[in-house]
């Protein structure tokens, strides 16, 4: 955990120091936030769950509700990941780039941390075997970070004759990483590069309702897996 904090801190500090233009540094940092944060959150939460399996068993023979046990496990791991992120990325961002983009980045990173630890818990509660749990979590990461974008591109190419702006907006909500990426990019004034779609995005995400939409979807992405996890855990045989 300390290593994760240190890594984020060193990475973001050096990015800000190497680029004279802080918005360029933000762009590089964006990729770290969108790729590394979900990966670490997934793997760390999964390992944490399997390592505390004995502890969970012990707690279950005590007068404790299953929901409480699971939520405290989730809380302990996700909040320490969140804390690491806020120290590692939050502090440099506040120092070098304290503006709307920076804030959007911090919000996205925090939301992704909570979302992916809740997804990791879902995968680990569902599979009894440790290797299978970690494997499925890695697959999920590949899907959200890489495969999903490929699929969207494919759809866009295939149906390029049709107006798809609304659809892509909807599709982006189905992947928290994409949603976060668009949300930050639009704050960076590079949406002009994205043509007509970018303009539509800017219209939508720039507005107050767009921000609410993003926050709401991110919240759903964290809460729905967590709810499913609690449900599965209540029925699980230990």
């Amino acid at each position: 955990m300390a290593g994760y904090t240190l890594f984020l801190l060193i990475a973001s500090m050096s990015l800000f120091n190497m680029e004279e233009n802080s918005s360029k540094a933000m762009l590089s940092l964006l990729n770290i936030v969108l790729i590394i944060v979900p990966l670490i959150s997934l793997i760390f939460s999964t390992i944490h769950y399997y390592n505390s399996y004995e502890f969970i068993e012990l707690m279950l023979s005590q007068p404790m509700s299953r929901t409480k046990i699971l939520l405290s496990e989730y809380g302990s791991v996700s909040f320490s990941l969140l804390f690491s992120f806020l120290i590692g990325v939050g502090v440099p961002v506040l120092i070098y780039s304290f503006d709307a983009t920076g804030m959007a980045m911090l919000f996205t990173g925090s939301a992704l941390t909570m979302i992916f630890s809740s997804i990791a818990f879902f995968a680990s509660v569902k599979s009894r075997d440790k290797a299978r749990g970690i494997g499925s979590v890695l697959l999920l990461w590949f899907y959200f970070a890489l495969i999903y974008d490929g699929l969207i591109l494919m759809i866009l190419f295939t149906f390029s004759d049709y107006p798809l702006e609304k659809l892509t907006l909807l599709l982006s909500a189905l992947n928290p990483i994409d949603l976060g990426r668009i949300f930050i990019m639009l704050k960076m004034d590079i949406s002009a590069l994205m043509g007509y779609t970018g303009a539509l995005y800017k219209d939508f995400f720039g507005s107050g309702s767009g921000i609410m939409f993003t926050i709401g979807i991110m919240l759903l992405w964290a809460l729905i897996p967590l709810w499913l996890t609690v449900r599965a855990f209540k029925r699980k045989d230990l």
């Binding site: 068993e57 012990l58 279950l60 023979s61 005590q62 404790m64 209540k234 045989d237």
Partner: protein, 255 residues
């Protein structure tokens, strides 16, 4: 006190419990016996709510347990293999469980901690403890809160003779306080002095639940081991231990 009502549980191919119905009340010491994999531990875990039965209900003090957890306040459980967080120290473990149970020091029963001399290892992490020492910790934890019901899964396995005797003496003194005690064990000679009732499970089915006196009268044997072996012969049940096989063979030669 505890009523098990038509409990059935299946783990994929294995029928762990098959329509088990039984009733346990205060002042009884029930010995759960049966071959390996006959469903003893599953039954215990079902009573503790760690395993959810496919059908059937369990009543604790007349109330059905159904995802409820407060009733566990009245149960002390000693698992077959006590597994604890590696980095936690023995003293921390005791303190933490005390915090969870929210009981005052006056209600604590630390007789086993003292007799098994566990204070000496309070600052040792759990991962450095041997299997037997872990068992001692588990035993002390089960008895710590003076619960009305004690569930002991293979309590004497892995304990040295001295500690085993201390534990047995403790079980007897708790039994005299009119508590319900459930024990599983393969060491039938250990149960001789403790038990009041025998419950025999095989392949998830309950074969019988009888009190010791009836069992002794029916079989004409004083010792549990021999009595069980005789019943197994009558009802063509599988033997539990090597000695049972010898008894069965000896019986055959007599005829």
């Amino acid at each position: 006190m505890i009523r098990v009502d038509h409990i059935t549980k299946r783990f994929r191919k294995l029928q762990a419990l098959d329509d088990v119905t039984a009733s346990f009340s205060k002042g009884q010491v029930i010995s759960l016996i049966g071959p390996n994999g006959s469903g003893k531990t599953t039954l215990i875990k079902t009573i503790l709510g760690m395993v959810r039965p496919d059908s059937g209900k369990i009543y604790f003090d007349g109330k059905p347990i159904n995802g409820d957890f407060e009733y566990r306040r009245n149960i002390g459980f000693m698992p077959q293999m006590g597994r604890y967080p590696d980095n936690m120290k023995v003293g921390q473990l005791f303190r933490m469980i005390k915090n969870i149970r929210e009981v005052g020091d006056e209600e604590i029963d630390d007789e086993l901690i003292i007799k098994l001399n566990l204070q000496a290892i309070y600052d040792k992490p759990m991962r450095t403890l041997s299997g037997g020492t872990r068992q001692k910790v588990s035993a002390a934890l089960a008895f710590l809160f003076n619960p009305e019901v004690l569930i002991l899964d293979e309590p004497t396995a892995g304990l040295d003779p001295l500690s085993s005797e201390i534990l047995k003496a403790k079980v007897i003194s708790e039994k005299n306080k009119n508590k319900l005690i459930l024990i599983t064990s393969h060491i039938l000679s250990d149960l001789d002095e403790l038990t009041t009732h025998i419950m025999y499970l095989q392949d998830g089915k309950m074969q019988f639940l009888k009190d010791l006196r009836t069992l002794q009268d029916e079989t004409g044997e004083k010792r549990i081991g021999k009595a069980i072996a005789r019943i197994m012969k009558q009802e063509k049940l599988r033997p539990i231990r090597f000695e049972d096989i010898l008894v069965l063979k000896g019986e055959n030669q007599d005829h």
